[in-house]
């Protein structure tokens, strides 16, 4: 089996590389970032990828979503209890906790060999960390935090702020940091309540206390409005 390793940690790559030799896998390349790996994979398909999830800028999940026809993938992670997200992608056959031990690695390779090659990208639809569930009483959002799906009522949300690879969801009672993007959560939110007013902020415009020239006040937070989004916000308001 031809395989590659994608991991920004040299120590992790060294361990997996060593195990590949012991498992008689043909390690064709190693990458310390996902972008370089995508370029390689566009030229040379492989049978198996050992993929680190947490990499700066472009995560393992970002990579999977980029690949049209992903091969079998074994995730590597520093989270001992990581699991939920992994098996929402059909191409992911297993996950390994770092530092990866050889017996566990060999089991994973066996698992990968037994799994048929995933054929279509449509069957590898990603699990979003944010899932919408419509209930009879209204619409809620379920977010994946520490392996628990936590329900957040749309009406309780004040602001959602982009924070690198995460988003911060501020509600009336609590704040939640979720591994997701503003774009993803925006798709799950009802247009009748939420609006992106800045590249880093989505607001529940029903929660606005006041608006100044280029900012809105929601609870105790002053949120900037980008010039291009201001007209869209103004259209949503019931102006006297």
């Amino acid at each position: 089996m031809d395989c590659i390793i994608i991991d920004d940690e040299a120590l992790a790559r060294a361990i997996v590389s060593n195990h590949c030799k012991k498992a008689n896998l043909n390690l064709v390349a190693e990458f310390d970032n996902a972008i370089a790996a995508i370029k390689f994979l566009n030229q040379q398909p492989v049978d198996l990828i050992f993929l680190d999830i947490h990499m700066p800028d472009f995560t393992g999940f970002d990579l999977i979503q980029t690949l049209k026809n992903p091969p079998r993938i074994v995730l590597t992670t520093s989270d001992r209890n990581f699991a939920i997200e992994a098996f929402e992608y059909e191409c992911i056959v297993d996950y390994l906790v770092k530092p990866v031990e050889l017996p566990r690695f060999l089991k994973s390779v066996e698992k990968a060999k037994q799994v048929k090659h995933p054929v279509s990208s449509s069957s590898t639809k990603p699990l979003t960390e944010v899932n919408e569930v419509k209930t009879e009483k209204g619409t809620d959002l379920y977010v994946n935090i520490d392996r628990r799906l936590i329900k957040i009522n749309f009406d309780s949300i004040l602001i959602i702020e982009a924070k690198g690879d995460y988003i911060l969801i501020k509600t009336e009672s609590k704040n939640y940091t979720v591994h997701s993007t503003l774009k993803k959560i925006e798709e799950k939110l009802p247009d009748s309540k939420f609006l992106k007013i800045h590249r880093s902020f989505v607001i529940n415009f029903h929660k606005i206390i006041d608006i100044e020239d280029n900012s809105v006040l929601i609870a105790k937070d002053v949120i900037p409005i980008s010039r291009s989004n201001r007209p869209i916000l103004m259209k949503q308001l019931n102006l006297l």
Partner: protein, 107 residues
């Protein structure tokens, strides 16, 4: 809170009977750990706690490979705290990083 003493037992275990591989892992660790620690302190200084959380996440692998079980559990909690913008546990994390740095400088 007691700071654990790192050891090489896990590295030896992973390297199995290969002394060469053991030395290779130690050499990488000696090179990579200080860089990761520096990165963490850089983000801590600028109070970029989300990036700090990502740094702690990365450091968990090094903590684990140095066989520091309690410190690993502590790092899990600290990483979650940082994601919520809270760095109150940074002082104890300093001690863990110091213990690791001191250890790798002596091997």
């Amino acid at each position: 809170m007691i700071t654990e003493i790192p050891d090489l037992n896990k590295i030896k275990h992973i390297a199995a009977d290969s002394k060469d591989f053991e030395y290779e892992l130690i050499a990488i660790l000696k090179e990579e750990l200080p860089l990761e620690i520096n990165q963490y302190y850089l983000h801590l200084k600028t109070q970029d706690f989300i990036k700090c959380a990502a740094d702690v996440h990365k450091l968990k692998h090094k903590i684990s490979i140095l066989n520091m079980h309690m410190s690993y559990e502590f790092a899990i909690i600290y990483e979650d705290e940082l994601k919520l913008g809270d760095n109150k546990s940074s002082l104890h994390f300093d001690k863990i990083l110091n213990a690791m740095s001191t250890f790798i400088s002596k091997i």
